[in-house]
Amino acid sequence: MSVAVPSPSTSTARTAAVAQPGIELRKVRKSFGETVAVDEVSLVVGRGEFLTLLGPSGCGKTTTLRMIGGFELPTSGEIAIDGETMNHRPPHRRPVNTVFQNYALFPHLTVAGNVAYGLEMAGVAKAERQRRVADALEMVRLPGVENRRPSELSGGQQQRVALARALVNRPAVLLLDEPLGALDLKLRKAMQVELKQLNRAVGATFVYVTHDQEEALAMSDRIAVMSAGRVLQLGTPEEIYESPRNRFVADFIGQTNLLPVEVVAIEGDRARVRVSGGQILTCRTTAGAPVAGPATLAVRPERLHLRSELGETGGLAWNHLEGTLAETIYLGTHTQWVVELPDGVSIVVHRQNRGPAERGESLGPGEPIAVVIDPDAATLLAE
Amino acid sequence: MEPAEVMARYRRGEISRRDVLRLLSVVGLSSAALPLLGREASAAEELSMVIWEGYADPSFAATFEGANDATISATPMTSSDDAFARLQASGGSNFDLVSASNDVSQRLIDAGLVQPIDPSRLSNYNDLYPQFQKPSYITKDDQLYGANFAWGPTLMIYNSEQVTEEPTSWQALLDETYAGKISTWNAPIQIAQYALLLDSKPENPYELTDEQLAQVKDLLLQQKPLIRTYWNYGDELKQLLASGEVVISDAWPYVAVGSREAGIPVVEVFPSEGVTGWSDSWMLTAGAKNVDLAYKWMDFMIGPDGQMGVLNNNNYAITNKTVIEGLDEQVRSDLRMDNIEEGYDQILMWRNVPNYDKWLQVWQEATTG
């Protein structure tokens, strides 16, 4: 059973409470004929947690979500919600509600009819239905639209109705299948915040599917990065971002420098590696990383510094790489410095732009430059 | 002969298109004349007719077709009214000929759907018995409108294996014993046949009082629950007999003959109350296109080949004296042709019903509702 270990730097707000598992997947596998869509996925989602399944198209995240919802049945393995095994239970008997990708609002019913649908199926009395519908619409900040038809609403409004329709039933688990894809950027950002707030307010376990890593980082308590039907890494956003366990995760989330190196020595959780140009660096190592021979070193561009800005007295200046400046790219919030190392490998440094005065001396292409690496920020990948 | 004269004679209907071609080819104008002749210049001409089943059977029609290089296109009628309706719909121009029975012939004449014929163009005309030469049902204002070529009764027929007691009365068609296996011809003229069962025994079953009509309607309503289905075409009845759906019905002789040929033991009966019957004539429609070929057909049908054809194929009585006198005695007796005057009069022939629309109404209400 994998348990999320809170990393020291995270606030308690982002820690998942896993004391009582909300959802448990045990070696869940799904194949369609010859194709394996989900390959032995095991994970535990805490009650009230906001978990995101993140990955590119075809990685199995949607299939996994659908199996939790009951729209697909696992080929093997078990799914339990709140301790109860759900394997063959049809969707209408699971304590789960779903917000579908294209909202799936019933076109022949009004908004009220849509939102009240689940309550009707549960036999809730009319007066109470009306009350709860009004409350749900308030909660998603869409009051007063009860008598409109879905076709009369904008995309954003429809999405909220879909949310209300799901949440009004007070489900233990809410599944969201890329619900923000059709919205414009601003609205999407606003909805991300709202969804996070709803998760807190309602207390239901949210399982969210997306391919947008920024979205995942913004909203989730924990993220499961998936590829080719497997979970490659499960952890908090910080863990995923700062300590990617393998090349795929490192590459998929944000931008990473991946340097081919050779392991020279291992000391505890530190390693000394030789970069192909011959320079030696100290870095961190993770479980599963090679102890000798070729390996990959991952370091985020924004964690790198240029020696010129640190000065010779910078505490980390000893851990650096010498190279030549290839080009600088100004990107508004930051500038990209592309440095070419002796053996042709490039390393990219992001320097935040703090105003014209702080841009530092202007170096031109072809000029020698040193890149300083904080040993704690560079990780040897396990793969 | 000048080409102009040829065309004039053609337009008057005195010569056929093929004659035109033959004549003009002598003058070397045949190919030029083709467009002048309008329609298809194909060698085989088509003769279209609406007829009772069996009147254009290949067994004798093929001879005609071969000899005249023609093809016959025949449409069968379910009843005289059906034929009348078809002709009226086109003003008498969609067919060249009609084999009209004596219940509808006067109506056809009155409606202007048929034209008078010239008996001098029929080589076999004088061989007909006098009473068939100019009978009242095809004559108006002393003009002859048809060639009377066949006649016969509407009999009762039954499957002798299924019906063990030989029926002798029309009452058999209302007999509960055969419930669900009876059929009768779906035509209003049949009212006359059922009128024969009335206590009041009308002298002329084609002239019924309203009360008598009502009584016949009662009979029909009595019969309805016993009926399997009303037959429209003779072939349909043959199938019903063959499949055993029906065991007793009224019908024309050719149905019985055909059934026996197919191995079904069907027997004809002349019920004691008498039988209604019909007499058919070839009539030339008002809008006939192939007049010359039509005359040839009419002549053929009252001549030896046609007459023998109708006799053998349908088991109908015929009208050509020479042919009849050459027949076997048994055959003549069976078909009531040994004494034409008497045999003919024994049958209560169809005739024009004055209040036919009332008959229609009664029949429809009794059988449809």
Partner: protein, 261 residues
């Protein structure tokens, strides 16, 4: 298209006298229609049979259309072809085929006798309302399946999943989601089947028993055997009226052209 209908309408107000049509305006035909119980009865019978056939076809077509639209992926074109296939054969051929099957010595009776279900052939299979209804149902079925299939096919699967997600059983999903959303197709199909049955006269003539005739036959007789065109035209009017009302009703519920979104 309007001209023939107009001519027909005008005829309804004329009458026939022996052989000719009296072209003077009169309501005689309508009086005949209203007073004679024959026509009322036959019209009523025709409407009832048309309604029964429509209902049966709805029940038969729904599962087929649903199955084809939602449950079949691979051989869908072939199966659709099979649905449409009977329409390639002549209507008359299919009616005659039923005659062969339903007769006293037909396939159905033979089979039932052979399996011992019955001991004497059942004559009521043919020349009866049963025969007519069976034939009508089978012959018009493709006209009900196809519009239903189209409308169900266009229904997003997500809607059905959403319904289940919100706690609806299969049956509840059918009544609350599938049925309302397939209404346009349902109405279109029903309109076809109802109209086709109402006006038909071939099947009643070939397969109906005495007393099973439908209005189409009476109209045909009027224009044929009875030679009473005006009465025939008058007979047609109630039929036209009924069908017009149905078309209007179907249009109102979006069966004709408006997309159900």
């Amino acid at each position: 298209m309007v001209a023939p209908l107009a001519i027909l309408l005008v005829h309804a107000f004329w009458s026939v006298d022996y052989l000719t049509i009296q072209r003077s305006f009169m309501l005689e035909n309508f009086r005949t229609l209203l007073t004679s119980d024959l026509y009322g009865r036959v019209l009523g019978r025709s409407v009832a049979i048309a309604a029964v056939v429509t209902l049966i076809d709805i029940v038969l077509a729904f599962p087929v259309a649903y199955f084809l639209a939602k449950k079949v992926r691979r051989h869908r074109e072939v199966l659709l072809l099979l649905v449409v296939f009977p329409l390639w054969s002549s209507y008359l051929v299919r009616v005659f085929a039923w005659k062969t099957i339903l007769g006293t010595s037909g396939i159905l009776n033979t089979f039932l006798l052979w399996t011992g279900v019955i001991e004497v052939p059942v004559s009521a299979f043919l020349y009866s309302k049963t025969a007519m209804i069976i034939t009508f149902c089978q012959v018009w079925l493709p006209f009900m399946i196809l519009p239903l299939y189209t409308v169900i096919d266009r229904m997003p699967n997500a809607l059905l999943e959403a319904s289940a997600d919100l706690g609806a059983t299969g049956r509840q999903t059918f009544w609350k989601v599938i049925l309302p959303l397939s209404l346009p197709g349902l109405l279109a199909g029903s309109l076809s089947v109802f109209s086709l049955t109402l006006g038909d006269y071939i099947t009643p003539t070939l397969l109906g028993g005495p007393g099973d005739q439908m209005i189409g036959r009476l109209v045909a007789d009027s224009f044929g055997m009875s030679n009473n065109w005006p009465l025939g035209a008058a007979l047609v009017l109630p039929v036209l009226l009924i069908v017009s009302i149905l078309i209007w009703g179907a249009g109102r519920f979006g069966a004709l052209g408006r997309t159900a979104s």
